[in-house]
């Protein structure tokens, strides 16, 4: 039997007082610890100096963070060709970007400290590249180190508004945001407004990417996104909220809409042009909305603190060789930023040369506009962004 006499209290202060004293002690200890460390400011930009990415001998690991479906796979793919060209290198190709905001949020604490999370290259959309640069999270790139890029970059991409001197970004692929529609189950969807047709309730999705969704909706209502006012943006977001609450919209997605389209949980969605190559459903097609599309680019950027800038620069230059790029373009079906690819692909297969998704002609994109930010000052942009996030989170 247990000797219970030892279990009697030592007498003295009542239990409640003890707990209070202990709690007080813990609080004091915490305050002490907090005082001897910790930042006065959290968030905001990095206060490190902006460096220029240094070239050098190419070997070791190259870590890339990018979107899904952006590179050719299988025999003789680009990664294996790069590794053959530069023996001793290993390319770790991580398809872990599902959405710009999500990716940024995940990495932000490290980026602020000048750490890249082990990555040498991020592939992010124009506006996110600019945001990262403004916050001091990126290294600058000297085009003199990238002869292929200098020679072959498409002229219309040399001086984009967000990076007029191409100081910190090199386009990876461009694309169109339009719709992917299951022609068998939703034959009459030709405009973004058709997505709100109650006939397709619960079978429609849109992106979490504000700069694709809202401009498309503005276009569908006949408003030029570049001229739209903040109120018009907010109005569209209100419409979006209504559709979300009524169950018209099934979900807000990033790349994960592809699976829903494949197994027909979803019959139509706002979509990125090249993703049609990933949807494993014979009835699905990329549809250019009647009113036009948005144009965007995803860019390779080098984060501050990247461990292997030499390999990063080599990779950027490598993929701008038209022969290498041709393989990528053929596989991913996005708009290639490299000149000279159209000729190569036309030789392989004339139809490829005319593929509107890879080489859109003037007519195809006549109503398309470039991605735009919400109008106004930073505070206005924040207001619209916050409102959109609210609706998207549900």
């Amino acid at each position: 039997m247990r000797d219970t006499s030892r279990l009697e209290g030592h007498g003295g202060s009542p239990p409640r007082l003890r707990i209070f004293l202990l709690g007080l002690g813990a609080l004091v200890a915490s305050l002490a610890l907090a005082a001897c460390g910790g930042d006065d400011e959290v968030g905001g930009g990095s206060d490190q100096e902006v460096e220029v990415a240094k070239p050098g001998p190419v070997n070791g690991d190259l870590n890339i963070s990018t979107w899904v479906g952006y590179i050719d796979k299988g025999e003789g793919n680009t990664i294996s060709e790069f590794e053959a060209e530069y023996p001793g290198t290993t390319v770790n190709y991580n398809e872990d970007v599902n959405d710009n905001v999500e990716f940024f949020g995940k990495l932000q604490p490290q980026l602020q400290e000048g750490q890249s999370g082990g990555r040498d290259i991020f592939v992010v959309t124009d506006w996110m590249a600019k945001q990262m640069y403004d916050l001091g999270y990126l290294q600058e790139i000297d085009l003199a180190d990238l002869p292929n890029v200098e020679a072959n970059l498409r002229d219309d991409l040399r001086e984009p508004p967000f990076d007029p001197e191409r100081k910190f970004s090199v386009p990876w692929q461009s694309g169109l945001a339009g719709m992917i529609v299951n022609k068998k189950l939703a034959p009459d969807i030709t405009s973004v407004n058709d997505l709100f047709d109650p006939k397709y309730k619960g079978k429609v999705t849109v992106f979490t990417e504000m700069r694709d969704v809202v401009p498309l909706m503005l276009l569908a209502d006949g408003i030029d996104p570049e001229e739209a006012t903040k109120e018009e943006w907010l109005e569209q977001i209100d419409q979006l909220e209504e559709a979300a609450n009524s169950g018209q919209l099934r979900r807000f997605t990033g790349n994960d809409y592809i699976q829903d389209l494949t197994n027909e949980n979803v019959v139509a969605s706002i979509a990125w042009s090249g993703d049609i190559a990933l949807v494993d459903n014979a009835d699905a097609e990329f549809v250019m909305p009647d009113e036009g599309c948005t144009l965007w680019s995803d860019n390779m950027v080098i984060p501050a603190g990247a461990p292997n800038t030499a390999a990063a620069l080599a990779w950027m230059d490598f993929v701008y060789d038209p022969n290498i790029q041709a393989d990528i373009a053929e596989f991913v079906n996005y708009v290639t930023p490299v000149q000279g690819v159209q000729e190569i692909l036309t030789q392989r297969d004339p139809e490829l040369g005319n593929n509107q998704l890879i080489f859109p002609d003037e007519q195809f994109t006549e109503n398309c506009v470039a991605q735009v930010d919400p109008p106004g000052e930073q505070a206005d942009v924040d207001e619209v962004t916050e409102r959109f996030q609210e609706v998207v989170t549900g």
């Binding site: 609080l27 400011e41 968030g43 930009g45 099934r250 027909e264 996030q389 989170t393």
Partner: protein, 289 residues
Amino acid sequence: MTGVRRRLAPYGLLGPGAIWLALFFVIPMYFMGELALREGTFTEGFRSAFEISNFSDSLSGNTEQLLRSFWYAGAATVIALLIAYPLAYAIALRAGRWKLLLLFAVIAPFFTTYLIRTIAWKTILADESPLLDVLHFLSLVPDDGRVLATSGAVIAGLTYNFLPFMILPIYASLERLDTSLIEAGKDLYASATQTFLRVTLPISMPGIVAGVLLTFIPAVGDYVNAELLGGTGTSMIGNVIQSLYLEQRNYPEAAALSFVMMAAILAVVLIYLRVAGTGAFMGEEEERR
């Protein structure tokens, strides 16, 4: 062992654990509190401040999701209880030689990752799946309706994932039931229902209370089920906090909302314990044995 060493012994044993918990549980809570009081924006930086309004702002801005979380978690808890109690009763008192096997089968799902289990439900509940065909046929789901990406799917996921937490405590308390008490009830001419209500139920009450708490509390803050099985308008408070922290980077609001959520859970739990009776949960009853 001398008197002093004996006095100090428990602190030595306690030391590592208490320090670890203090450093990595208590202090982070303090930091979260400090973060909740800051003001500013992400691009400018969040400065130390005393912005108490963050708490009320986060509550008023997210009341819908908070209430929805309680509704989903509550529904899941009730359904889990209705499934778990008969199951636990059957295993504890009626299973005989199958007891161990059934118990095993109940715990087994635990051994696949939480995420994979939930993703499996995505396959089972997909719009074109055989299960949906059956449900359409039985008119349990309208012909143009779906289960996935609705609140029903989220509640179903929550129920499923937390069922073992409900079953095990109830099983544990039922297992200690002295069957002679039930026989005594019969001897005294009580009906089966009366025996159940007067003998079995009260004795298993601590198990029920533990099970309800172990299910409800984590369910309210759940993130995965709403994310994978939900659609628009089904997000729970956990999803909002995640979004605020990792996507919108609005750290003060995220931290404030976390505290608000904990306070709300605490309030509900205290009310529940007052109604159901406490003591058993703190385990003091056991130690006096």
